[in-house]
Structures are given as structure tokens and as C-alpha cells.
Symmetry: C2
Subunit: 66 residues, 2 copies
């Protein structure tokens, strides 16, 4: 398992937290969103998914991974 923290812009409320965490869960990734820091910690299995696909999933929800 790999653990990485991403900076994500555009998250503003608990709906955003849920949207991101649910999306990540669907692709088998555990996400911990920190609204105050504007960050998402992602825990994933590198043999299943890569970081680029995780970033795309977050961006598809309308947020910017910076």
C-alpha cells in the first residue's frame, strides 16, 4: 500500500469531502480529506491503480489537484 498526500483546490464544504471520498472509494482508494489544509491523503495499492488515475478521478469531480 502506498500513502500520498495531494493538494486539492476547490473543496469548500462537507459535501465536497463526501464527493471526493465516495469517488475514491469507488476506485478502491481510501481518501482522507482535510478541508482546512486543502489536502487529500490517499492510501492505495500500487498494483491496482496509479496516482495519475487517482488525480483524474478527483479532477473529474470538478476539483484541481495542484
Amino acid at each position: 500500500m502506498k500513502n500520498q498526500t495531494l493538494k486539492v483546490e476547490g473543496m469548500s464544504c462537507n459535501h465536497c469531502v463526501n464527493a471526493i471520498e465516495s469517488t475514491l472509494k469507488e476506485i478502491g482508494v481510501k481518501g482522507n480529506v482535510d478541508l482546512n489544509k486543502g489536502s487529500v491523503e490517499v492510501i492505495y495499492d500500487e498494483s491496482n491503480i496509479n496516482l495519475e488515475a487517482i488525480k483524474e478521478a478527483i479532477e473529474d469531480q470538478g476539483y484541481d489537484v495542484v
Copy 2:
């Protein structure tokens, strides 16, 4: 039909817009949220519901009607 614009604090993104508009729809109220202005225009039938109940429905979603 009565038309009233409420000032609402705490709305920050399109998820918030959807949450409020969906909640209002459930109680038979048409709501138009303006995120930039922090306002919700509500259009409702006074013989069905009063403004106090509408404010409560919005506050139950976690927002402040001011």
C-alpha cells in the same frame, strides 16, 4: 404564490445549491439559490406552507438563514 428572497450563510459550492434546492422541492417550494449573493429566492404557496417552515428546512441542512 408568494415570492421571497432569504439571506443564507454557509452555502459554498454547487453541492450546497443542490442540497437546498432539493430540500425545498421536497416540501413543494421552488428555490433559486444565488451562491455569489448568498441568497435563496423561494416561491411557495402560502396556503400550503409558511416562511418559518421554509427557513427551518434550510437550517436543517446546516445553513443559517439570517
